[in-house]
């Protein structure tokens, strides 16, 4: 790419850049050729970066006032809400920010699923993304424990107990995780430590995620390889910056609505009751963004197999690039996949719904069917579809929608020369 030839204009700039090429990096980031047909589903990468920074900044501020001790955590949160200047604002941004973060990441993931962004040559970007998503879930879960309310305590008890399903060493691992024989102060302090650490791990992985993205460049709604830079692309700045900025502002309006007018609607009332090991809540439910996986966990009657199913449901995504055998990326040109895609979206929403309901009767039956379908989609439908599906003809380039292109640039070029 041409940006490696970049030379700063000033002498000082050249001197600095020869020693640490930060200016080359800045130049690469501003000039980065981006497909000009990206739609608004592509703005969630920038939105997610905003979410991460927001969580880190508000989280640091909260950590200055929060006390990670089983006897004082709940009280220190109330101290933040009442006596710290704008403490209520910082805490509500942080708590709702987690939900907004997951809302954005789910849109980001499902965008990738629709447009085949996980396919060659972007497998590493995708796998890094799945690791980020896993770390996000860990951070969110541990963050939810910190206020030391009833749902914090019992959520921590339920989730850590999952490890006891591991044969032979399970019980030992759970004791080790707890730092005792039940969820207690040692659990809280280590969760706080990890909750503080993980966002910075995520930040590092986000850098790798973007680095890996900048090697092949963005996928696009048409899903074909494009020449970069070319008339199919625009420089990242100002075109994508302003567009991402516009989308981010729209997102912030929704965010602000939750923070200022419905700050507790996404949380559970029981978490305003201080943790009490002697009283179990009527329903123990995780936060909404973990509900689909919670539904999968509960739909399997065996504890160990339930845990395996839940973990597989996430890890199966990591091998998705090899499960999807279709050469065509974008669902726009895959009429059958498009339908299965929307069925999967519905399936995950249904799983989320039954995850919030008691695991009994009709709800349990629905959860089981939806769980089975979830795995069927990835393990059977996707591999078979790649061979069976009759795809629509795809265009050669974004600007010249001549049909007869190929998802692979080399073949596209060959065909192009043949046409000429």
């Amino acid at each position: 790419m041409s940006d490696h030839d970049y030379r700063p204009k000033s002498k000082v700039g050249q001197w600095f850049n020869d020693r640490l090429p930060l200016l080359t990096l800045a130049n690469h980031l501003t000039d980065y050729p981006t497909p000009k047909n990206l739609n608004y589903w592509w703005t969630f990468g920038g939105i997610l970066t905003f979410c991460l920074i927001t969580q880190i900044v508000t989280g640091l501020t909260l950590a200055m006032h929060y006390i990670a001790h089983a006897d004082m955590a709940f009280e220190s949160v109330e101290h933040i809400m009442r006596d710290v200047n704008y403490g209520w604002l910082i805490r509500y941004i942080h708590a709702n920010g987690a939900s907004m973060f997951f809302l954005a990441v789910y849109i980001h993931i499902f965008r990738s699923l629709f447009y085949g962004s996980y396919k060659s040559p972007r497998e590493i970007i995708w796998i890094l993304g799945i690791i980020i998503y896993l770390l996000m879930m860990a951070a969110a879960f541990m963050g939810y424990v910190l206020p030391w309310g009833q749902m914090s305590f019992w959520g921590a008890t339920v989730i850590t107990n999952l490890f006891s399903a591991i044969p032979l060493v399970g019980e030992g691992i759970v004791t080790w995780l707890w730092g005792g024989y039940s969820v207690d102060n040692p659990t809280l302090t280590r969760f706080f430590t990890l909750h503080y650490l993980i966002p910075f791990l995520i930040l590092g992985l986000v850098v790798l995620h973007i680095w890996a993205l900048h090697v092949p460049g963005n996928n696009n709604p048409v899903g074909i390889d494009i020449k970069k830079p070319s008339k199919d692309t625009v420089p990242f700045h100002p075109y994508i910056v302003i567009k991402d900025g516009f989308a981010l502002l729209m997102f912030m309006i929704v965010f602000a609505f939750f923070v200022f007018y419905a700050p507790n609607i996404l949380g559970h009332a029981d978490n305003y009751i201080e943790a009490n090991p002697m009283v179990t809540p009527a329903h123990i439910v995780p936060e909404w963004y973990l509900l689909p996986f919670y539904a999968i966990l509960r739909s399997v009657p065996d504890k160990l197999l339930g845990v395996v199913a839940m973990l597989s449901a996430i890890l199966i995504l990591a091998v998705l690039p090899w499960l999807d055998t279709s050469k065509i990326r974008s669902a726009v040109f895959r009429p059958l996949y498009k339908q299965f895609y929307w069925i999967l979206v519905a399936d995950v929403l249904i799983l989320g719904y039954v995850g919030a309901m008691p695991a009994e009767g009709l709800y349990l039956l629905i959860a089981r069917v939806a769980t089975a379908y979830y795995f069927l989609h990835f393990l059977v439908i996707l591999p078979v579809l790649g061979f069976k599906e009759k795809t629509l003809p795809i265009p050669l380039s974004i600007t010249e929608p001549v049909l007869g292109g190929s998802p692979n640039l080399a073949t596209a070029r060959n065909k192009e020369s043949k046409i000429e």
Binding site: K36, N37, Y40, W41, E75, E78, H79, M81, R82, W88, L89, Y92, S99, L103, I107, V234, P238, Y239, I242, K243, G245, F246, L249, M250, M252, I253, V254, A256, F257, V259, F260, Y261, P263, N264, I265, L266, G267, H268, A269, D270, Y272, I273, E274, A282, H283, W288, L291, L349, G352, Y353, A356, M357, T399
Partner: protein, 259 residues
């Protein structure tokens, strides 16, 4: 773009209905018009002051409010008692302080900086005095119950004769809004139980509304500034969004592509 909105709104509706699903599973709560709901919602100052009276004369004999201080009563956005009134309220309570230079604990009249005095020394003492049931701390009670203010408001008025077939143990009462309908608290309110200084008729309904308003404030003492700031923030964001939209249109007009 339109699809995006649709998708977002569907997701929000699903989330919202999920979090409400437990609260809505039983009876319909009694409704009243709360002044603090809505974009510009504010507390009814007089109702907060009456609500404090109900709390302190009725509820406080069993329920603590350990996260509130007497100074909060004079703060903006709350009952807004004058500082002199709040000082007088604080001074009417005996606060244990110490140890003094002799190593002895002593009692003194309360100050603005003191936390609300608790009716019992600890949870065990509270349970012992209430037949084993712990009267929950009321500081964040409204946020700790699924139905929120409507639930508390209804519960206070929900005492009835137990229907035929329901047997109640000693010290257990029937309340149609309570989870499982059985409650260890006797009906706390009766008409004319307190005498309001402003001449308002102290019906059970009126007292329920006043004390629930007070509990909403105690759970969310910064609700008013939250609503005010929220409105400004959202208006600001909308204006900025419109400006950025037109800038975006202008910048993208240089290339042949839709935004």
């Amino acid at each position: 773009m339109k699809n995006l909105y649709k998708f977002l709104s569907i997701i929000i509706i699903i989330i919202a209905s999920n979090s409400y699903s437990f609260a809505a599973e039983k009876v319909e709560y009694l409704k009243t018009d709360w002044s603090f709901k809505g974009l510009f919602g504010k507390f009814d100052r007089a109702s907060l002051q009456r609500g404090y009276q109900v709390y302190t004369e009725v509820c406080a004999s069993c329920h603590s409010m350990k996260y509130l201080s007497y100074r909060n009563l004079a703060e903006q956005g709350g009952p807004e008692f004058s500082e002199a009134q709040a000082k007088a309220i604080a001074a009417s309570f005996e606060v244990t302080d110490g140890p003094n230079s002799d190593g002895e604990m002593f009692t003194r009249p309360g100050k603005l900086s003191d936390k609300f005095v608790m009716p019992y020394e600890n949870v065990k003492a509270a349970q012992a005095a209430n037949g084993g049931a712990y009267p929950p701390d009321m500081s964040v009670l409204v946020k700790a119950r699924g139905g929120g203010v409507d639930y508390i408001y209804s519960l206070l008025q929900g005492y009835e004769e137990a229907p035929v077939g329901v047997t109640l143990d000693d010290g257990v009462y029937y309340n149609k809004y309570m989870y499982g309908n059985k409650i260890r608290m006797a009906a706390p309110l009766s008409d004319g139980l307190v005498e309001y200084g402003d001449g308002t008729n102290a019906t059970v309904e009126q007292m329920s509304k006043d004390v629930t308003t007070f509990l909403m404030w105690s759970a969310e003492p910064h609700l008013e500034s939250r609503h005010q700031m929220g409105f400004k923030a959202i208006v600001y964001l909308i204006i900025l969004t419109v400006l950025v939209y037109f800038s975006m249109k202008k910048i993208w007009s240089r290339v042949e592509s839709e935004v």
